[in-house]
Symmetry: C2
Subunit: 224 residues, 2 copies
């Protein structure tokens, strides 16, 4: 397949939930690609050339043409490699998938970050409230095994942060947002998603991620 569709390179960072999204989509579709690990304290010239605007991973390079922004890349991958579709077929369902994946990036992730990594107690409480409010919408939206139905789709991949990184954050900073008690469907989905063989194979080491968040939390507390 790689030959047929040309050369694929992914600039990523182990532990990054955004780069992880792209990796999972490529693996689900069986696309062969070269993985380039970036060092965020010393970004490569290629990364800066390919993504001069955001200067961030992930960047996908397909036949020499670069693309940035994980959700944009996911749609591209789905248009080029059409096996195991991650977007639904019908335009309305496709739009809803786009809506929910943007909701995760625009509402859930900033709220979780505020709840976990703000020194100001009042701000943290506000972040917690906003997180619970946002997660409730996702809980209500879950009607099947996955957001994508019986198989993993765009929203599942976007929500991977909630399945894997959020529990690691909770452990690292002693926060409780997602539990089987308050969000039973979302918790069950988290388990299903992280245990999917392709996802499981491509998740970073949990202890490392917890360690990373512990260090981040400690540095925020130390600065205040």
């Amino acid at each position: 397949m790689a030959k047929e569709y040309g050369e694929v390179e992914l600039f990523g960072l182990r532990g990054s939930p955004y780069a992880g999204r792209v990796q999972i989509a490529l693996e689900l579709k069986g696309v062969k690609y070269r993985y380039v690990e970036e060092d965020l304290r010393n970004k490569s010239d290629l990364l800066l050339k390919y993504n001069p605007i955001h200067k961030k991973v992930p960047v996908l390079v397909h036949n020499g043409k670069p693309l940035a922004e994980s959700l944009v890349i996911l749609e591209y991958i789905d248009e080029i490699w059409q096996n195991h579709p991650i977007l639904p077929q019908h335009p309305y369902d496709r739009s809803l998938a786009r809506f929910w994946s943007r909701f995760i990036d625009d509402k859930c992730l900033p709220a979780i970050s505020k709840a976990a990594f703000t020194a100001n107690q009042e701000e943290r409480e506000k972040g917690t409230e906003e997180s619970l409010h946002a997660l409730q919408f996702l809980e209500d939206e879950l009607k099947h095994k996955f957001f994508g139905g019986e198989s993993i789709g765009l929203v599942d991949i976007a929500a991977g942060f909630i399945a894997f990184w959020l529990p690691a954050i909770q452990e690292a900073v002693g926060l409780k947002l997602l539990s089987s008690k308050n969000f039973p469907k979302l918790s069950k989905w988290s388990e299903e998603y992280t245990n999917h063989p392709v996802v499981k194979e491509n998740l970073p080491q949990r202890e490392r991620v917890v360690g990373f968040f512990k260090a981040r939390y400690a540095s925020i507390i130390a600065q205040n």
Copy 2:
């Protein structure tokens, strides 16, 4: 056309650049729709029912099914009504259009808002710097009459804020970000875009928009 594709309703707000995007896309494609004007100080039950998450315009309702978020709606419209396509045909170009329209919403608009509507002088200067930096990327990206080539596409519609609302903001608050001197291509594009017959017909009254921004500015200054 309206009959063939069922009933279309748009919940908007005169003067809203986001609702304006959807209106322009529908008009470009000649879609017949019912326009429902919202009052943001007294949102209708229907708006809250259709967009319980963001509680904002625009909402497009097609055959009873609601969709929110202007960029999501634009893609939906392009998938349902395929005449006068607003997204390019090739997947890579489609992805770039998605990238740039997100860039406008995620980088340009917040920077402009910070430059124009922040009381703190230092923050305003930071916003101005960020705005100029972001607009430069758009200036460099303009290679044809429109971002979409010879006809209006997704990025043009998304950038409508810069063509029409930004000059109104500049007038209202006495700010100079976009001028033919510092961004000649973007300035020429602004003129082309706002003079396109379909766009022109659907822009709000300039004095009203200027008045709105003047009042907003005054209230921010008064609070500080």
